[in-house]
Symmetry: C3
Subunit: 109 residues, 3 copies
């Protein structure tokens, strides 16, 4: 067994949770703030057998990989028109930071 | 020293916290949601000396073991009387998922 | 790489977060309650390379070490004047409980 801690962006959190359930990974979510990733984030704590670690990593990668996204321009509220960008811009979203921890004992009562 | 992560149901959480204090285990609670167990849950993070791990596991088991509980029938609100069960039913409550982690260093400043 | 879990008092939490950012440690904060320390606390989860663990420990110590603090007397509300202490008293604040965990794999997608 391994204990996997995965910090992902809030916006990918529901999608990842569904994918983990689909693939029979048992997980619990920790409320977390700031840090590894710029936006709000969630930490998944997932217990898994050794031979399923690679599958788990691929599920996380599929659902949380950092990628560029086009963001529609927001029209400026109350001035500051100098910084207004009248066309969509690309921003990086997503990403995951993952720690795979060894465990000495696992119990389920 | 070991670091023990124990995910338990919210309904067992206060009782377990009191038992841990009674037995001199030092613990901190993480706010967690969903996952390993069906209902709301809490994760306890407990630091303990190696020779007390078995004691800790028995304290958790005593206070959180999954068990059947009789639940009184709830009278149906606004119809759907077909699914109304007019006698108490047995549901499974409790349970704990526990990871015992090795640690390389422990410090207290 | 190591995964360091550090439980500190809420009152030291912002200062520590700033110091961690200043020293280029990547961290995420877990919402935690009660336990290792008497007052409200926060758990930092910090991923770091092996050779920077000592530096990380010294940053945490600098910002969270338990220390005595003078607290101004609070005038008693509605009686109980017997227990009123008309001069500042020293109380212990701060402190940190730290676990350094080995990791088997680290990934960043
Ligand atoms: Ni798949
Ligand atoms: Ni006992
Ligand atoms: Ni410094």
């Amino acid at each position: 067994m391994k204990l996997v801690m995965a910090v992902v962006q809030d916006k990918d959190s529901n999608r990842l949770m569904n994918a983990l359930v689909d693939h029979n990974f048992r997980t619990t979510k920790l409320a977390t703030t700031g840090g590894f990733l710029k936006a709000g984030n969630t930490t998944f704590m997932i217990g898994t057998e050794d031979h399923r670690v690679d599958k788990l990593l691929s599920v996380i990668k599929e659902n949380c990989q950092s990628r560029d996204q086009m963001v529609a321009p927001v029209s400026p509220m109350g001035g500051n028109a100098d910084s207004y960008v009248p066309y969509p811009v690309e921003v990086e979203v997503g990403g995951a930071t993952i720690f795979v921890l060894p465990i000495e004992q696992f119990h389920h009562f």
